[in-house]
Amino acid sequence: MKRAFALLTASVLAFGGAIAARSTVPDSLPSVDQSAILTDGMPRMLSEFGFFADAAGRLPNAGLIPYELNTPLWSDGADKLRFIYVPDGALIETDGEGLLQFPVGTAIIKTFAFGEGDDQRYIETRLLLHRADGWTALPYRWNDEQTEARLAIAGGRVPITTADGDAISYRIPNKNQCKTCHSVDDAVVPVGPKARNLAPALLAQLAADGRIAAVPEMARIMPIWTEETADTNALARAYLDVNCAHCHQPGGGASNSGLDLRWEQSDPFALGVRKPPVAAGRGAGGLLFSVEPGDPDSSILVHRMNSNEPGVAMPELGRSTIDHRAISVMRDWITEMGQ
């Protein structure tokens, strides 16, 4: 099997020019290495998984399902290339509007990139692997030559110029920090692919392909973050759910704060309305409540989202710059709340 793989790789390399000219990858290419996903270990190179036909990770394997989120996590404005790999023939269970329940053997692949067109550079690729004993998170860091991505369990820092022109020290999370966000009741879980935050067209396609039994019933789906006309309340609640609720929910990393920012939460106090800080320390900025209706300038939530200072900035991980559009949406949301 190994030998066959090597031969195939050699032939692919030999015809590299022809491959690069194609827009899709032929089915005859080597498939994803199931054992790398399933075996209890940490492959040193991203290429060992076979998610991409090339070591540079530009050519996704035919088995990878690309997806986008209606409202994504802010990561310093990084572009994200997201894929899901599900073993052949395995079914994805749905849970209403909630998280898709992926079978063992699934991999969720997310590459973070900066720059446009030919100048695009991959920084890191984060993997979530569904193994027999649960999900494992692994970060891989791309080299300067953009030819390979190597396991970076301790994370790292990379100098980056963002789309807004800010020069920042971009943080690649360490393996534990992956879990800080991807964790409920101490178990690693995916965060993004909830039915309510996926494009209806993608869900329809998954149903048509027999990957899910049917498109789940949903009361309401999350708005498209970039749509200027979207409802402010829906945008704000979607943003809080995607960017904050992985910690700020019962069983999450910030459960002791008592703040619950999930999409399904409806109790104003749990959402921070007139809720005093608990363990915010100087992060509260001298303000009395997480959300003061009608007064965004007096709301800790806006204050912490609008800071880059460690110990004040929220989220604590995953950003070094301020998401100005999010600040604007939160301000509108809190202002409208007072009317």
Partner: protein
Amino acid sequence: MIRLTVGALLLAASAPVLAETHTIAPGEGSQERLQEALILAEPGDEIVLEAGRYVLTDGLSLDVDGVTLRGSGMDGTVLDFTAQKGAGEGLLVTSDNVTLRDFALENPQGDGIKSKGADNIVYYRVRVTWTNGPDAGNGAYGIYPVESTGVLVDGAKVTGASDAGIYVGQSNLITVRNSIAEANVAGIEIENSRNALVEHNIATRNTGGILIFDLPGLPVMGGGNVIVANNLVVANDTANFAPPGNIVAGVLRGTGIMVMANDYVLIEDNILQQNPTAPIMVVAYTQSFDDERYNPLPRNVVVGSNNYGVGGDDPQLDGAEMLLAAFGGTLPPVLWDGLGSLSAVEGTTGWSLNLTEAGAGLGGAQPSPLSAPEPEGEFNREGIGAPAELDARIL
């Protein structure tokens, strides 16, 4: 076939067969080397931090059960977070049965060491220092175990926290002892926790020395079964430097031992000296709240015999001059707001505000000398304090 063998070896390696020691030295790449060791450790392993100063730019984290992180002494091994760029604390522990000992953190940008949902944790001879002294810009908590069952803090030292030096929150079976809390807003704070023993500590130069609080609106409430005994609570006279909005921002400069809400608390055999507002203060939760599960009153608080030195002589209270004059120049050592229930051993002097309603402010205060019944029977100490197995780890 080859892959299968490798897989089997990896599986075998993940079982705790033989505990290993991993030694880390300061210097180039210590951030990555130390963090890698914390991730790759197996249950039972010990990570040894050689003496020296580790200059770190990001928070560290440990998520493996049963690991010991050991430095060469709280003055020898220093994790220096002065240049920290990210994360909400210096070190985050999220696994059980962890022992942290003999090292220091300096100038973390947020909290010092946070352990969350980390049962049976031991902090032994750990130091957290904000080197610029009291400053609202310092991090909130120095040592910060939360949502944990089984917490032992022994021989620790925290200086400069803008909230609480040693803070145990929403936890159970707790001992904080032999530790020094100096120049924090709150020296030692036990919050929304049960079965806590706070003994043989020194709390000095804080705004308030030792606080036992129960607050509404949190996942875990109903604090109580707490003993505060044999502590030296001296000269807690630093002006409150907490950022406004936080609960400790309301702590009055010069508070020795303070109980807010809670059920069943014993305060005895402490030495209380030079706490100018109130050597001992027992009050209901002072703010309005909307939480049916919450009881704002202090109940069954027992003031045993304590050694009261100078105190209550420069209270940070409205009408201080009048009060001092009324009580002959010095307020008696125990201040109660009159809400809930309090007993005190014979000979205890104090004063009561005689409030009739919690959270309604001091408008209805009618100060008078304290009149409290004597404690009924022995205080039941059963089940209070950290499990004995935690002691065994530091013998």
